[in-house]
């Protein structure tokens, strides 16, 4: 896990499938230093909030969610307990919108799409209320004032996260079909990836695992939407079967990535943790 990080993504595929030059450039890899300031992702969050508020470009909400997830890890690097709930609150609202955007981009059947669009309208209204809530202003100010964690502190935390990925990976792949365990692994992998990126270390193996888990996770979320519809008397059996088949495929792919990269996680777990 030591070679340099891959170059930052300068191109992204927007939800409508077209490739376009992005206005959402995410911060590049951190430069090694004795402390780890939050600035790059805090500034990114502040830049993306108006885009998310306008609601014309789905990428804005995605970038808010990504920035918030990275800041949650940054807080944990500095052992901050407070402000985590505030970030979780903001992320929950962004995630509701983003999950529906992703599901809609996967071209569900018309009947499913119509319901998802109604849910999206509600989720957007709730996100907008959160973005206009004074809690957000307090959160941004508080984050801007926090001191940067030391690198040594952050390295110890990253080693703990690598151990968590190993533990959760074993649990997730011991029993195929254990969706909560797969989801827990996805979250642990994401935290490890962000911690390594804050440290300016290569996160390539964990990114590859996280991508595979992400594709499986998208199907899990879509299945939840479909189940909710079925409970409301609108089952979509054929679509459900398609999603289940895709989930099996992506879970198998995630397992393959996991087996390939387990030694990298073992190395990271030993990394400066003594």
């Amino acid at each position: 896990m030591r070679p340099a990080l891959p170059p930052p993504k300068r191109w992204r595929r927007p939800l409508d499938g077209r490739t376009a030059r992005v206005k959402h450039l995410a911060p590049g890899p951190a430069r090694p230093g004795r402390t780890i300031p939050a600035d790059p992702w805090l500034e990114h969050l502040v830049r993306q909030l108006p885009v998310a508020r306008a609601g014309e470009d789905a990428e804005g909400v995605h970038q808010v969610r990504v920035a918030v997830a990275r800041l949650q890890v940054w807080l944990a690097l500095g052992q901050w307990v407070v402000l985590q709930d505030d970030l979780r609150w903001l992320r929950r609202h962004a995630a509701s919108v983003r999950d529906l955007d992703v599901h809609l981009a996967a071209l569900p059947p018309k009947v499913v799409e119509a319901r998802l669009r109604r849910e999206l309208g509600r989720a957007r209204a709730e996100l907008l209320a959160a973005l206009n809530n004074p809690r957000l202003q307090g959160l941004l100010l508080a984050l801007a004032l926090l001191p940067a964690p030391s690198r040594a502190q952050a390295e110890r935390y990253a080693a703990r996260l690598a151990k968590a990925v190993l533990r959760r990976g074993r649990r997730a792949f011991e029993r195929p079909g254990d969706l909560p365990a797969l989801h827990a692994l996805r979250r642990a992998a994401r935290r490890l990836r962000y911690a390594l990126e804050w440290l300016g270390e290569s996160a390539r193996p964990v990114v590859e695992l996280q991508d595979a888990l992400g594709r499986a996770g998208d199907r899990i979320v879509a299945l939840r939407h479909v189940d909710r519809m079925a409970r409301a008397g609108h089952p979509a059996h054929a679509y459900r079967r398609r999603l289940e088949a895709e989930l099996r495929h992506h879970a198998a792919e995630a397992k393959r990535r996991w087996v390939e990269s387990r030694s990298d996680f073992e190395e990271a777990a030993r990394w400066k943790s003594s």
Binding site: W80, V82, L83, D86, W89, R135, G138, L141, L146
Partner: protein
Amino acid sequence: MEVFLIRHAEAEPRRPGRDDAARPLTPRGRKRMVRATQGLKRLGLGFDRLYHSPWLRAVETGNVLAPLVRGESVVTARLAESPGLALLDELSGARVALVGHQPWLGELLALLTSSDPKLGPHFAFGKGGLAWLEGEPRPGEMTLRALWPSKALRAVAR
């Protein structure tokens, strides 16, 4: 509802050119707050929710108090200004802690107990001190159960 107003612990002094909101706790202030938190724990006090100001010294104080919080912590800029009904409307939970600053905490205490925030300066609210109120969180609807200086809470921890 039970409301605990807690003033932040001792912070570094104001300095020209430094934002007042960015003043951190001193090592002594942090140590004392840890002891006071142990005292609160020994008294069996915990909170459903913790509200704190976004200023650094209040965030740091809130972080020390975090082990006593069973539910969510919420940052609110309304604790870094003169208290009003908007702040009271935000509160939810049976037992909540509010970490903030003087003179606003004193004004809030006066508002809740007498409806008159101008009486705030009459309350001796030292750094790391705590006021324990009970009643409806509306102007004049709360009763002051205790006003403890940090020193008293630290003494309980021994």
